[in-house]
Point group: C2
Chain length 485, copies 2
């Protein structure tokens, strides 16, 4: 899927991983367009003055970013060095996110209420200097889409924020087969400058939470900082309400850690670059030609149904090919030997149910049946992966924790699962939604256990009679607590 | 389409311009995959040591590039400044092209002849610090695809180089409706480090040439610099032969300057984000509802044929909408008034033939006929735009220039067309293909006239009896000379 590059914290995304990203882009882009957004492209670089202006307005703003200071190298006695004469007057920041540069355009583009809502999306690479990086989950450079919208009032902006949260939820569950819980982040976990931040959270196989997408209602903070105003129907200049929302290549990490098993990855058919891979069992003999043409016919029949299918003809042993595709997680792996071709049959493995005990299970069907049922087979693999992950999520949210001591006892020491701890999942608890210092104290107590509040699910259970885990006061909200990536 | 951003030399690509780029990506990506290439993604940053190594091996290597030297800002008494403690040990270069970072991966990925050919493509943003920038044609940041391939021998690499040149030619002509001449660049115009550089050259409406795509055979230069070796069938370690090839957002500039007229852009239907735009002539009256539903039905009928169609319902006057779409170059603009709806008719304009003299020409057809013929109409617009540009190209290559004095006389002073000069097109001349210093001298003489050799067309005419324009020696090649962007 990917590998570390020689550049600190940056990855090389290999063809199979990139193919997954292409599928993710296609599926999500359709949804973004269907909800009325248009794609644009804004500069990679942001003038430092823009960032400085944002820093004035927005507290808790991150400062780890790549800074361009020179625009030329020169040869100094055979050695390549920075050319001091090519120092930029104003340093440029490699975008960590594009709020400021897009806000600058919005300020030019928005004049009247007739220009609203302004619904823009961008697919781009961004850079955030991270101390600890991990393939797909946390990398210095990553790829994402960032939606930025401007609205006439709070209601319209808030409905946009929640609409896109729902787009992400539906996309994660139906396309990535990754069940998620959509909800609102607590105030101390908001995007700096946001009035409300919402997220979808997925449970990985080690029980940790992955924040897989966020949607922010930014109030008028950014509009005020950047002077994004419009003339309303009464002719009065008014600040816009803005939103932003994004998902990134981190989703690929989520897919890997949602569906993988001991044999490697398992790709949901909807995003698998190849849904069916056909491995002809070649033997460097004249019969190979017949085998190849049988495979080509099968490929054509599947392709005609719009299935992404590959015949793997690499000059490598068939057993090695099979295991390559198992490891990569091709949903269906077909192996065609001389007997299959002679009997007009197809022998295949379902990657989602590869083994019975230790034994690899393969099925044989007539070619006609296999072709007729191929779409149904892929659909059933897609829903089996979802159901398996959904059952794990549902089974691993404990809801009988009423006090902080219970929580401490349940999650044990601060040791996470990756330090040899047990799989714990999440706790669904009630709290009184404290603010300010009281909230910060809650954050610290949780942090000492390596825990955090993931979100307050949109679907809230009844809180009747329940009290706050942290203060004992009457409960105001149900939230999920867990360890996270 | 695009506008200047507050970042020097970087542009904001607006929805209509981005939509064109999306279409270009889709059409070209299909062709790149159909010829056996796989997409990957490599880091935005390149360690300075990689560039230094390339500079040692490759002469004439450009040094204008954006250099990242710090990874953090800090607050210094209320002012945001570079954090001196966050200075990088080794500066990072924002990729101007990815030969070195991809070569580094190839050196790891290629082990045996079984791994060859290695056929990789990347869609990415790159940065080259340009002194003078111009929207789409020359910008500091631009978007492109860069193909990089490794082969066992020269023949295989050369056939790849020429295959991709042909892909570009076919793509430019059939998708962009932009006639081009495919040929080889003279030695002094090669990509630094290339053994052979090929290009497609398009003639803009002012007679200048636009280099619209290049394909390079790199010999073993990059493989030697980066140690890309493979074990051949006899077990011997051998350097790969590599190629690279790319086209960029510059193509959008080419489309604009190939097809525009006094009324604005004219987009070839194949890449127009909206092929048919329907403008209902609304009057803020109850009858509007009927008009809208008539337009929605028409839209659905066209959409069912896979046509990209929009009903423009913006709260703006219809005449303003019409001219917006004329300026943007929507291929077919439909205007539906009450009479059209009542008579079940469609009134439309062909953007490629907007006027008869000064008068705007519109046509009325029954809705059924319009829907039935819509595909054919779009096809005929596509080919009309191509034919018009092709006729201009064919008519504006003079071939009767035999001496440098003729050339000087023909192109006149050094003044280009943009300085008030006359439209001159190109000259097709014979030359003796000088090398080294003699070639440099040719380059300088041409440069004094603001001219350059664009390429030596793949289709060479007979040179029997012809002599070199520069030296009078027997001719060895037919080349095109022109002014360029």
């Amino acid at each position: 899927m990917a590998e570390q590059s020689p550049v600190r914290g940056c990855m090389v995304i290999k063809p199979w991983g990139w193919g997954v990203w292409e599928r993710i882009q296609q599926e999500l882009d359709t949804r973004i367009k269907d909800t009325g957004h248009e794609n644009c492209y804004f500069p990679l670089f942001i003038p430092m003055s823009f960032i400085a202006k944002e820093a004035e307005h927005v507290e808790g703003f991150a400062k780890e970013m790549a800074v361009v200071t020179h625009h030329r190298l020169k040869n100094d006695g055979g050695k390549l060095v920075l050319d001091p004469e090519a120092k930029l007057e104003e340093p440029l920041i490699v975008r960590p996110t594009s709020e400021t540069i897009i806000g600058d355009a919005f300020q030019r583009w928005v004049k009247s209420y007739r220009d609203l809502p302004l619904l823009i999306n961008q697919w781009a690479n961004v850079v955030r200097w991270e101390m600890r990086t991990r393939l797909f989950l946390r990398t210095a450079e990553f790829l994402w889409q960032e939606g930025h919208t401007a609205h006439a009032d709070r209601d319209d902006a808030m409905s946009e924020t929640l609409k896109m949260l729902e787009v992400y939820r539906e996309f994660a569950e139906n396309v990535l087969a990754m069940p998620v819980i959509a909800g609102e982040k607590p105030a101390n976990e908001r995007f700096p400058g946001a009035d409300n931040t919402y997220s979808i959270e997925a449970m990985m196989q080690d029980g940790k939470a992955l924040q897989a997408g966020t949607s922010h209602y930014l109030g008028t903070h950014f509009a005020e900082a950047q002077n994004i105003q419009f003339q309303n129907a009464e002719g009065k200049l008014t600040f816009c309400h803005t939103t932003s929302w994004g998902v990134s290549t981190r989703l690929i990490g989520g897919v890997i850690m949602s569906h993988g098993d001991d044999d490697g990855l398992r790709m949901p058919p909807t995003i698998a670059p190849r849904q069916i891979v056909i491995v002809p069992m070649l033997r460097d003999k004249p019969e190979d030609a017949e085998l190849k043409s049988y495979c080509a016919e099968l490929q054509a029949e599947l392709k005609a149904q719009g299935i992404r299918v590959l015949v793997d003809l690499k000059p490598v042993k068939s057993a090695e090919k099979r295991w390559n595709w198992v490891r990569r997680g091709a949903p269906v792996i077909v192996e065609i030997g001389g007997r299959d071709a002679a009997g007009n049959n197809v022998t295949f493995m379902r990657r989602d149910r590869l083994r019975d005990g230790d034994k690899v299970v393969s099925h044989t069907q007539s070619r006609a049946d296999f072709v007729t049922n191929a779409r149904t087979l892929l659909d059933s693999i897609q829903s089996a992966l979802f159901s398996e992950a959904k059952a794990r999520l549902d089974a691993n949210i404990v809801t009988n924790i009423a006090t902080f001591e219970d929580l401490e006892r349940y999650f044990g020491s601060a040791a996470g699962e990756d330090e040899g701890g047990e799989f714990k999942g999440w706790a669904g608890v009630a709290w009184s939604k404290p603010e300010g210092e009281a909230l910060e104290k809650v954050g610290e107590r949780l942090k000492a256990l390596k825990l955090s509040i993931r979100n307050a699910p949109m679907d809230q259970p009844s809180l009747a009679g329940r009290t706050c885990l942290f203060t004992g006061a009457p409960a105001r909200e149900y939230v999920l607590i867990g360890r996270s990536y």
